[in-house]
């Protein structure tokens, strides 16, 4: 940047990425300026050609679609023929791995339900990664959609205020009554699924989804302000981060103890991990809803 004309390499690169860069040499500029304007063909000719193309496409399309369907069906049937019959003892899935899981899950992981033992203990890193993906997804949605004074103009604020006023003066009584009746049971059922995951079907993901659904139902029936007074932004963030941290910590302790042969109360750790996953999932679902609806938690 000597005299204002010379740009830095970084600046030129940024311009090139943005598509703002000018042609460098004068010859290119000259050629670009001298290029004759594009010849416009008469509209009737254009229309006729387009119609011909469309006709060709419409003639070809059912043929291609039918061929694709038949080919897919043939491939699927060919695959189904080679699948071993259901429930036979000699099937390749019936090997020592699954036998080991079914026999030793309870004493090795402390979970009576083998599926929970598998996703939270044997493959706990996988589940930790999934929780991180959910956490990051809701974080990036927050970055993009959060409403603050820099990206909100007066018009949007006015519209939001008017929508709030309409919602306040015309409450939907049918929705409110049914939400009032159902929300406690939904939250109770969510807690049941969460804490019962290690001895019965259920667990963190499904329980968290039910919890988030109950929150969404309440929020849509009574207006977002009613719930955000209880579940403030700071509480929401605390719960979200605490869930992920608790999972990581507990699983770290779990792996450390297992590697060094220390005996621990593993059932409790299972429940803590289940609860942590459930909180992360519930916060993700509720966060998506409220971010896309209002732009704030």
């Amino acid at each position: 940047m000597s005299d204002g004309r010379e740009k830095s390499a970084w600046r030129r690169f940024a311009d090139w990425v943005n598509g703002d860069s000018e042609p460098i040499d004068r010859t290119t500029q000259y050629v670009m300026n001298r290029r004759p304007p594009r010849q416009e063909e008469p509209p009737e000719l254009h229309e006729q050609r387009e119609r011909l193309r469309l006709k060709k496409f419409l003639g070809l399309y059912p043929l291609a679609a039918g061929f694709l369907c038949v080919a897919l069906i043939a491939i699927l049937f060919a695959t189904v023929i080679y699948i071993p019959p259901f429930g036979q003892p000699g099937n390749p899935t019936n090997n020592e791995v699954s036998r080991h899981y079914l026999e030793y899950t309870e004493e090795e992981t402390g979970a009576t339900n083998a599926v929970t033992g598998m996703i939270l203990s044997y493959r706990g890193f996988d589940t930790l990664g999934e929780s991180c993906v959910l956490f990051l997804a809701v974080s990036s949605v927050m970055m993009l959609l959060q409403r603050d004074k820099n990206n909100t103009d007066e018009q949007t604020l006015h519209r939001l205020r008017r929508e709030d006023a309409i919602e306040r003066t015309h409450p939907d009584n049918i929705l409110r009554k049914s939400a009032k009746l159902l929300t406690p049971f939904i939250l109770l059922f969510a807690l049941y699924v969460l804490f019962n995951g290690e001895i019965s079907p259920g667990g963190g993901f499904s329980g968290g989804a039910i919890l988030g659904g109950g929150l969404i139902l309440y929020s849509s029936a009574y207006g977002p302000e009613q719930l955000s007074r209880l579940l403030t932004r700071s509480l929401y963030d605390t719960v979200r981060i605490t869930g992920l941290m608790a999972y990581a910590l507990t699983y770290g302790i779990y792996i450390f103890a297992g590697a060094n042969g220390i005996k621990l109360e593993m059932e409790w750790m299972m429940i803590v991990i289940d609860l942590a996953v459930g909180l992360v999932v519930a916060c993700t679902i509720y966060g998506f809803y409220t971010m896309f609806q209002r732009g704030k938690v």
């Binding site: 939907d172 049918i174 929705l175 049914s178 009746l181 159902l182």
Partner: protein, 107 residues
């Protein structure tokens, strides 16, 4: 004997429920306006669900799982009319040419 009767009754309910769902899907495709289609879908959600779940309850009559099916029935009967009501309300609130589609009663 009682078991056979229960199974037969459950089968009748199931077949009728499948018929109701068939007509609901047919109505969903044949009707062309939101409120009409919603009516067809709501028939499936209320009567079809009722028949199929009663059939399931009769199949597993005196067990815990049949009671769970009863709970599912109660839950769906509370929620699905509310959902239909909300869809209809959005349609009446946002469609400016509602009068050309159906009779509108002033209140």
């Amino acid at each position: 004997m009682l078991n056979n009767i229960l199974t037969a009754a459950g089968l009748i309910f199931l077949v009728f429920g499948v018929f109701v769902f068939f007509s609901a899907v047919l109505g969903l495709y044949r009707f062309d306006y939101v409120l009409n289609r919603m009516h067809a879908a709501a028939v499936g959600d209320a009567l079809g669900i009722f028949c199929i779940l009663v059939g399931v309850i009769l199949f597993h009559a005196p067990t815990l799982s049949s009671m769970k099916a009863l709970l599912i029935l109660v839950f769906l009967w509370i929620t699905s009319p509310v959902a239909s009501h909300l869809i209809a309300q959005v349609e009446t609130a946002t469609n400016p040419n509602l009068k050309s589609e159906c009779k509108v009663e002033k209140r």
